[in-house]
């Protein structure tokens, strides 16, 4: 988080992206809602948030820049599974509504399945399989990938 309150953080992001929105306050509230963060937290100092709140505040902050492509590296790692799933749904919905692409890195198979249209599976820095998400989770000839998907089922 940047120094200052959550509101300062969101405003800073809007300024960095030269977001011309007139009603910044309304857009901030919308971003907070989308990231499932209580609006009352807008006035709280960034360093007084919990890890999960910080992660969601970071997502709200990223939305303030009105991205065309959103790169997310483990955006839900500090969230509980249910919230993480809801957030994945939200991001998917947003990407359709606001017309941006999302590239997400995750260790959660369920999240990848739920949120993506297309996925690449990596192992030791190498892409071992890539394709439309339903195909990856459906039939695959790749034995290593099979084992990986099987092992992930319990997680």
């Amino acid at each position: 988080m940047f120094p200052g309150t959550v509101r300062d953080n969101l405003r800073e992001a809007a300024e960095l992206a030269r977001n011309p929105e007139k009603d910044l306050e309304a857009e901030m509230r919308a971003a907070m809602d989308l990231a499932e963060l209580d609006r009352a937290l807008l006035g709280r100092e960034g360093d007084r948030l919990s890890m999960g709140q910080k992660q969601r505040a970071n997502i709200a902050r990223a939305l303030m820049t009105r991205p065309e492509v959103l790169l997310m590296d483990e955006p839900t790692s500090a969230l509980d599974p249910e919230t993480a799933e809801r957030l994945a749904d939200t991001i998917r919905r947003l990407s359709v509504e606001r017309m941006f692409a999302v590239v997400m890195i995750t260790h959660r198979l369920a999240e990848a399945r739920r949120a993506s249209d297309f996925m690449a599976v990596m192992e030791a820095g190498q892409v071992i399989e890539a394709g439309p998400t339903p195909e990856i989770f459906g039939q695959t000839e790749n034995a290593r990938l099979r084992a990986f998907l099987e092992s992930g089922r319990e997680r």
Binding site: F2, P3, A13, M51
Partner: protein
């Protein structure tokens, strides 16, 4: 001590000379510092011994060198003396830095040359108006004082910037991720390291005369100058320190800061990422 400084008494009392035996007795003071280092396991015992020996030799030597330079009175000798002071100060400012020492060497030298040079130029050309312009009697001691302070400010600024960039790594990366320039992303670390390096100088301005009686003033007074002349010089020196320290610290932080980023405006991988 204060009573010695009374103007009326300066003339009629002889200057107390410090004999070689007195100097030997003064070694006891350094032993106390060595004792502390040993007790708290600071590992500075050797540094103190080397430092003490260097103090004796360097000060003895500089006495003779100054007599020589004053007598010859050549501009190139004065410039050579100033440059060698700058070289030693640069080396001292960076040698405790383990990382990016090479880059810091150039940055610190340039920053101190600019900060001290400009301040000295202003004083020499506008305020004191020396005759001739290279008058070593003024230039060498004045330059020594400002370079000494600039050296500490440069070392503080660089050290603080490195630690701020490390502890605020996540914050800096977040700025970059949202499209900020490296300058914007590092504004807070830069601000904090400038603050840290300038505060000793501000404090110095606050307490001069009340707590610290500066070396130059003491020296002039002991040598027989009127405290009224000495204090005027000291005011010039204090203001000169402020400008040289400010310029030096600014150049060091802004320039050193660029080293943390790649050409593609990414933060270079550092020793340790922490926090959020």
């Amino acid at each position: 001590m204060i009573s010695v400084l009374q103007p009326s008494e300066v003339q009629d009392r002889p200057i107390v000379d410090v004999s070689s035996l007195d100097l030997t007795l003064a070694v006891g003071l350094i032993l106390i510092a060595i004792g502390v280092s040993r007790w708290q396991k600071l590992g500075l015992e050797k540094d103190f011994v080397v430092g003490a020996v260097r103090t004796v030799f360097q000060l003895a030597l500089v006495g003779y060198v100054l007599v020589y330079i004053f007598a010859l009175d050549r501009w190139y000798l004065v410039i050579a003396a100033l440059l060698s002071m700058l070289v030693v100060a640069t080396h001292t400012a960076v040698y405790r830095h383990e990382e990016s020492r090479r880059a810091l060497l150039g940055i610190t030298a340039a920053a101190m040359l600019l900060g001290s040079g400009l301040s000295l130029l202003y004083v020499g050309a506008v305020v004191v108006r020396m005759e001739p312009w290279y008058n070593p009697r003024y230039l060498i001691p004045l330059f020594g004082m400002i370079v000494g302070n600039a050296m500490n400010a440069a070392a503080l600024a660089a050290e603080r910037l490195r630690s701020e960039m490390e502890s605020r790594r996540a914050e800096v990366e977040a700025y970059l991720a949202l499209g900020a320039s490296p300058e914007r992303a590092s504004r807070e670390p830069v601000r904090r390291s400038l603050l840290a390096s300038l505060i000793p100088t501000v404090n110095g301005l606050m307490v001069v005369g009340l707590v610290s009686i500066p070396g130059m003033m003491t020296g002039q007074i002991i040598a027989g100058a009127s405290p009224l002349t000495a204090f005027r010089y000291q005011i010039v020196v204090m203001f000169m320190l402020a400008s040289s320290v400010a310029i030096t610290a600014t150049v060091v932080t802004l320039w050193y800061c660029r080293i943390f980023f790649t050409r593609a405006e990414q933060l270079r991988p550092g020793a340790q990422a922490s926090g959020s």
